[in-house]
Amino acid sequence: MRRDFLKGAAATFAAVTMLANGGAVFAETAAEFYKDAKIKWIVPYKPGGGYDEYSRMIAPYLEKYTGASVEIENMPGAGGMKGANEIFNSPPDGLTIGIINGSAMVTNQLSEIEGASYKIADYNYLGRMVADLRVLVVGTNSPYKTFDDLLKSESDVVVGATGLGGSTYVDAVITGPAFGIKQKVVHGFDNSGDVRQAMLRGDVTAMWGSLGSAVQGVADGDHVIVAQSDVERSPLLPDVPSVFEYVDALPNAGEIKPVLEAWDALNAVGRPVAAPPGIPADRLAFLRDAFSKAISDPEFVGAMTKAERELSFVDGERMGKIATSATNMTPEVKKLIVAAVRGEI
């Protein structure tokens, strides 16, 4: 009890000196706080899968730079929302953090889905691990080789998707009609692996997905990437056209472009690492610093590069801005995106 009081007093003292002297003294106290502490890192999905892999890969490096032990806790439920709620509502002591599905949490908030007890703009972000670069792939066993082939297709292109309103579905129903692709979206698959298997069998022709879920199939020669979602071509895919390169040629480019931009802004939210609102400023600064060191640790970057897992780090402050700006869209665009997420298109 008395010790806690002293600690609190020290923190207050440190906070006061911080205002006067800048960060030096401050970081020291936060470092002391985290030394041998236990950080709970929430993964809002089951073990296995991208979010879990990214978390488990970076955990040892975060331990290295914080001095704390990092314990991964999987908390699946409600499409990642249960974990996101849990992070948001956990005590703001800086000992609970986690990775969230940023894009989905933004769209959940926009569509005012029930059960969301978070505000995407109010999280304290430590940074973003990876943006959700979306790619359109077609099976190598299909007659289509490029995005132009799809645009010119006379017959329906069968696009596989997971759940109605899931991200693979939203991608398809936003881009398909925008570019006038003749397509039939077949949804109801369990996960992107399930769609991939259907594509290998030739049951479906194409699918949207994250770059991370597509790389293995590309390397194995199962499918090719024909389009990407970023305004600028990603450095990882210099030869794949962005859908934005096709917008200006459309007769109704003025209407389509804001929709695609809103979609791109959503994807940019990607997979941020978040902490609840209200954690002490010194600890937040310390965590942000440790996270940025961990994610740029050469050993970590090397392992991720070898495994072909993309990283696109932005720092915590910038991440906050990206998340906030993703929620800003014109009423017409918002209506369209919400309709896509609800599966009403």
Partner: protein, 510 residues
């Protein structure tokens, strides 16, 4: 790397000093996790993944997969001795395992189960090895139309499962399918039967439902009745007697080798199909064992074939389940998804690159399944004696302890308090079903397969139109299913007639 090179290198690595200790630790760990009710392969792997960072690829993969390969073995022990499924795939073992224990033949049941597990796992692993050259083609045989018909075929096995009558089994199976509908529907994005609860919107998880239906219901009953868990047995078997029985059980598994092979084939085949899981495989194997047995009427009363069948198949699943994971990096189950994460942490690729360049890793997996199960069998035998003594402890002591373990197991998988409520709720349902003579196994099969049936029917209709079953393979399977069902209906009617005739009058079904 040729197959022979890969096999030799894989074998040498598996038994090398750098790998075998990890394999042994992993297998024993898996065995123990399997013994604890509610904790299954998924949980064992999620725990094991945490230790991978500093391991060499070969050691890591042996450790991880070893932990997954032996859980069904441990679970079988719990099922037979404590009437509690250690993992989901052991639910079918409950039909004949505990009755054998009550007949004073616990050792035989456990010995047969352990040996069948080992034989089944070996079968699955060998099939996987033989399939390597055409692994990719084999996995792609199964699309939505095929999976729909197969899941439906598996469903029809409820007709032959229990000692309960057919109508009640069908009611239970359909109720199970309705339970599977709970939650957010992938197809229409609507919530079904959730009553506005966010916890229900993800649907019911398998583990708490199984624990409730079988384990908790059993505890309630035991509590009400009093006495020891093993009924009809005056005093625990002596160590010597248990040992003798175990060897008798092992002998029986080898003697019924043809049954083991057929049930293993069912397990491996169903393991190849994504999304079906291993619990239905064990039930189908049980149904098959019962149907082909010379004395089907003794099933449910402690027939060793009713233990051998499901235990062989639930370990043979492993070989099949690995196929799509290795061939394409597409996990067919949540456990395989963790395995992929583990491979990722170890820096290994799957798919053609693994089949071409890292074939030795594939063979390490294959040998891990075989050696891991062998270790599991050996260690498991030493656990039988102390565990079987516990079955004679009075229920006043036993029930609280087991309940605490069961509730913890229900909570641990997803760390969800809600699951504890689900477990207790289904405990009450299970008890009521048991008293009213409704088949809990049928309910479970309906629950497990309901989702697969619905999803694949929808996809098959969308992809291939209303006559999706007219393609060669689905058509053949459909005809087989109808034939199987017709045969059973005829047999049941004939059985009822003979039962109704005065000469062979017997106690009517209550």
């Amino acid at each position: 790397m040729t197959i022979i090179e890969g096999m030799t290198s894989g074998f040498l690595q598996s038994v090398s000093l750098g790998v075998i200790p990890y394999l042994a630790v992993g297998s024993i760990f898996g065995l123990v996790i399997g013994i604890i009710p509610g904790l299954g392969g998924h949980f064992a792997m999620a725990m094991a993944v945490t230790f991978l960072y500093t391991m060499e690829p070969g050691a890591g993969i042996a450790f991880l997969l070893g932990a997954h390969a032996t859980v069904a073995q441990g679970g079988g022990l719990t099922a037979i001795l404590f009437s509690t499924p250690g993992t989901g795939q052991n639910a079918a073992t409950l039909l004949d395992g505990p009755p054998m224990r009550d007949n004073g033949r616990a050792g035989v049941a456990v010995g047969a189960a352990m040996a069948s597990c080992f034989l089944g796992a070996t079968f699955g692993a060998i099939v996987l090895a033989c399939l390597i050259p055409f692994l990719r083609d084999v996995v792609l045989v199964f699309g939505p139309p095929e999976i729909f018909v197969l899941a439906f075929l598996a469903l029809t096995f409820v007709a032959v499962l229990g000692k309960e009558d057919l109508i009640r089994s069908l009611i239970a199976a359909l109720a199970g399918m309705l339970l599977a509908m709970i939650g957010l529907d992938n197809v229409t994005n609507t919530e079904r039967f959730t009553m506005g609860s966010m916890s229900l919107s993800d649907g019911l998880s398998l583990v708490p439902v199984i624990l409730g239906l079988f384990a908790v219901a059993e505890m309630f009953e035991l509590w009400a009745k009093g006495g020891a868990l093993a009924r009809g047995v005056d005093k625990p078997l002596s160590a010597r007697e248990t040992q003798k029985q175990i060897f008798e059980g092992i002998g029986l598994a080898f003697k019924n080798w043809w049954l083991v092979v057929r049930c293993s084939a069912i397990g491996t085949g169903m393991g190849l199909i994504p999304g079906l899981g291993s619990a239905p495989a064990a039930f189908v194997a049980y149904g098959h064992a019962k149907q082909t047995s010379k004395s089907p009427e003794t099933f449910g009363k402690g027939n060793v074939e009713g233990v051998i069948g499901p235990e062989a198949s639930n370990d043979a699943v492993e070989g099949g389940a690995l196929a799509s994971t290795i061939a394409f990096g597409i996990p067919g189950s949540s456990s395989m998804a963790i395995l992929l994460s583990g491979l990722f942490i170890l820096g290994l690729e799957t798919g053609p690159r693994m089949l071409n360049q890292n074939l030795d890793i594939v063979f390490i997996m294959i040998f891990t399944i075989i050696i891991g199960n062998l270790i599991g069998t050996l260690v498991g035998m030493f656990l039988v004696n102390p565990m079987s003594r516990a079955t004679s402890i009075k229920s006043e002591f036993m029930v609280p302890v087991l309940m605490a373990i069961i509730i913890t197991g229900a909570y641990a998988t997803d760390r969800s308090m809600f699951d504890i409520g689900v477990t207790i709720f289904f405990g009450i349902i299970g008890l009521i079903m048991k008293i009213l003579n409704y088949s809990r196994s049928a309910l479970l099969i309906g629950f497990v397969l309901g989702f697969a049936v619905e999803k694949n029917l929808y996809l098959a209709l969308l992809l291939k139109g209303p006559f999706f079953f007219m393609q060669p393979l689905p058509l053949a399977l459909t005809i087989f299913t109808i034939g199987f069902l017709a045969y059973n209906v005829v047999m049941i009617i004939r059985h009822r007639r003979s039962a109704a005739s005065p000469l062979t009058a017997r106690k009517p079904n209550s």
